[in-house]
Amino acid sequence: MLVFSDGQKGVLWVLAQTIAPDVALLTQTQKTDFFLTIENALSKRPQTMQRQFLLFLKAIDVLSVLRYGKSLSRLDATGRSRLCRWLQEGPIGLLRNGFWGLKTLIFMGYYGRTEINEPVGYRPSKQGNTLLKR
């Protein structure tokens, strides 16, 4: 089972706030679940992929220094957003793939929780047709 170090959680949390800003509203328990969901999802993947993901987190920090002269945690919100946009749309396919994977895991951690359903206006029902006909 993959378990993030405090440092890895720190980088991931900074990125999560840029990618899904509402994560900032999570309680401590929900934040723990958020990381647990991502750890669980990654643990089911091959070890190579897990290592690549952790390496990618490090690489983002390095790229932040190279591009903006500051580590990720010292960048302001605009700088982080710009960095993420470059990762997503930049010329390097490998980075775009990595960022897509990172985004997907963050969205899974946040939007994959059943508690999110009500706040986002998703109220599923096994008897949907009953509500359809109202």
Binding site: I19, K44, E89, N97, M108, P119, V120, Y122, K126, G128
Partner: protein, 507 residues
Amino acid sequence: MHTKEFDIVVVGSGAGGGAVAKELAPLAAHGMKIAVLEWGPKFREADYTGREVEMANRLYFDGGGFLTKDRNMTLAFARAYGGSTVVYTGTSLVIPKETLGRWGVPGLSWDDLSRRSQKYKEENNVHLLEPDLINDNNRLFYEGCRQLGYQVEQFPLNLKGCQGSGMCNMGCPNAAKQGTHRVQLPAAEKQGVQVITRCEVKRIDMETRALEAVVHPQESVGEPSKWAPGRYQIKAKIVVVAAGAVNSPALLLRSGLGGRLPALGRYWTCHPALILVAQHDRSITNYYGHPKSYYCDEFVDPDKFLLETCMYFPFVTAKNLAGFGPEHASMMKRMDRLQMILVLALDEALAQNRVTIDHEGNPVVDYRIGDQTIDSFVASMRASAKIFFAAGARRVHAPAAKKFFIEAEEKNQIDALITRDDFKLGKVSISAAHLMGGCRMGTNAQDSVTDVWGQVHGLPWLFAADASLFPKCAQINPYLTIMALADRAAEAVRSRVGELKTQPVGV
């Protein structure tokens, strides 16, 4: 190592394996030993919770996010009693005559496939949904298409007692969808076919015809397997491989057939898909009711894409939007206002797109999103944006647009705002669930794997009977065609019954 002996073993219990099991069941009723080996568990009604991530992990390989080798696309395919029929939406279309003509397989006639498809339509209670059960998400698509003069058709669906949970892709919680887990497998079991769940087949010994398999231990959900956990050697006289377009080629490659059959694993197609999303300025009924009522085949020629209605859940929706941050969050905050369209690109069957195996024998899908598919995607985003706006959407998100939202006021600039230059692999979420090919049927062992009846070239005891048989993509939702082809394979197996009676097992 446990040892078992059967006359016929079917690997996989989805549309192909389930159809074969039912068609061969009368043989079991007359004393033949037939087993279906299914990797996944048999789920109980209570196991279908409708919780998105939980169900994705229970039902799908890699939680529905099986990555292709270059990581530009994810594949969704299931493992369960019923295979991917547990998670499809039940759209039941007969393959078009033109498509079969394009396949160009001598001896495979449209009349024959159509007749067999019709049989399964009746068996699976296929019908059109009543108008009062069609939600806004579907109705708006229909109206948008009609307003633009696009051809739009209603999907026939295989439902019985649908309650409109909208949770089809997580497994129906109301037992309404008539997949093989509801129809063919129970019918086969009644006649004596054994279905062994949690049973992963590792390889087939080509000399002895024995399958090496592992029965996995019981987990927290699903019924226990009928066999104890452990390693098994399963001897058979006839083997039917129906593990799907990823696992069937991988199983045959692990079994050493790659050298003998150069086309094995190749010519793999999958209808690469985009999920496109628009926002209305009011709540619409979208996640109540069946998610898939209509399709538009206006663009099959020359643009090579199909449009269908769809509706997904919060996480899948979030990951399919290209972008992040406040705009993304603002789209996600109103799931009740979202309209969705599914794009299916009709991809070419190319030899280089293929299933291989890694050093541990796990399947690797080596598939490149080609220029034609990207062109189809760009054209499909433009067409979909026009449909969304014609249906009254306030704003549209297109993954290859110059900005996150295209507003209704900009609807006349769609072609300028959605361009090929802005389509970047890796940025755009591409997924696929119609996995086809890898054991394509044909006439010779150089460019195909099986004959027109699904028998593997040169091996009269070995058959494929699933979507891996498709020589090219189906250009429609494929499950009914899978069943029709499996029906043919079952017929070919039945014709060998005389030989079986005099043949010792495992020789």
